[in-house]
Symmetry: C2
Subunit: 195 residues, 2 copies
């Protein structure tokens, strides 16, 4: 199933694909200590950083989608909340401090075992710039968004719904299931998706 699970992380013996007793799905089970190595979807958390009426975007300095523009987002870490993760990723990728507002979009990418969450956020001070993860960080008015050069479908959908809701002065939670057919671009947000 997952080619990078060949050995037990606890005892180092080989694992085999088996359905554990009382379960229904194939799992990587250790031949020696019987530990079951569960694989679960990962959360990607990000923000829509607003400064006055502009949105802060970053140009990716890393693969995948090197050189394309994105909203700041990345893998949620242990020991943090979804909002804390969105604040941290925004700081790491743009240098900007934000205050989180409402949850705006939730994407299921079942084929990639990912769930993406984007929060509306307020940029506290217009202090930002290139980081190790972004070659360029800039504020965009709605009319200047580089729609053709956005890195991920979930970013494009989030921005499109955001401007639509802002026009209507009513922000709702957008829940969207993306499948490979809807994607014209690779969707793994970061190389940490591997494994």
């Amino acid at each position: 199933m997952n080619p990078s699970i060949q050995f037990c992380s606890r005892c180092g013996h080989q694992v085999s694909l088996k359905i554990p007793p009382g379960e229904t799905l194939l799992r990587h089970v250790c031949d020696q200590c019987q530990m079951v190595h569960y694989q679960n979807p990962k959360l990607i958390v990000g923000s829509i950083p607003e400064w006055k009426s502009s949105i802060l975007l970053c140009k990716r300095a890393i693969e995948p989608r090197y050189g394309y523009w994105t909203l700041p987002a990345g893998f949620m870490e242990n020991q943090e909340t979804t909002s804390e993760g969105a604040i941290r990723e925004t700081l790491e990728e743009t240098g900007a401090q934000v205050q989180i507002e409402s949850l705006f979009s939730l994407f299921n990418l079942a084929h990639l075992n990912q769930v993406h969450l984007f929060y509306r956020a307020r940029v506290l001070l217009p202090v930002f710039g290139p980081t190790t993860e972004s070659t360029e960080v800039a504020l965009f008015q709605e009319g200047d968004i580089p729609w053709q050069d956005l890195a991920f479908v979930s970013v494009r959908e989030t921005l499109a719904h955001f401007f639509e809701d802002r026009k209507n002065n009513r922000f709702i939670l957008h829940q969207i299931d993306l499948d490979p057919a809807q994607e014209t671009t690779p969707l793994s947000i970061s190389s940490k998706a591997a494994g």
Copy 2:
């Protein structure tokens, strides 16, 4: 950090705690092949199954919280969406088929590396009963909810907000961060949380 990560799942060699180049957090890194073994929060997905004005609850047949009542919920699996996971868990734990309505609550349990999502759901037919995961499955009117015997804080909070919103005829998304101090009961939804 995680005592059950001692060996590389890809090559079987020992791992060490290190900060990989370009990162800021300690990770389990293979001494031999350098593979980084990321650890990320897990999603628990569940439903609030409504039949007429009653809610379907199940009495846990498994630890933790054996014998306590809960809303059907469990770990999201790879290759499914959050809604599909909630439907599957409801079927597995109650035998009932549900149709998912809106996302109702999102809990962060940063100390357990968990995010819980509960969806409002409509029971399609009043066909349900004990399962391998529940010794008892029953419909409860609001006045009969066994508040003192609920398994998890996120379940209690979800039910309390649900009945309040229903009274007000207005369902909103509830986002709650739980820390250990708020918990009077163990919170790991299933033994699968280990590892």
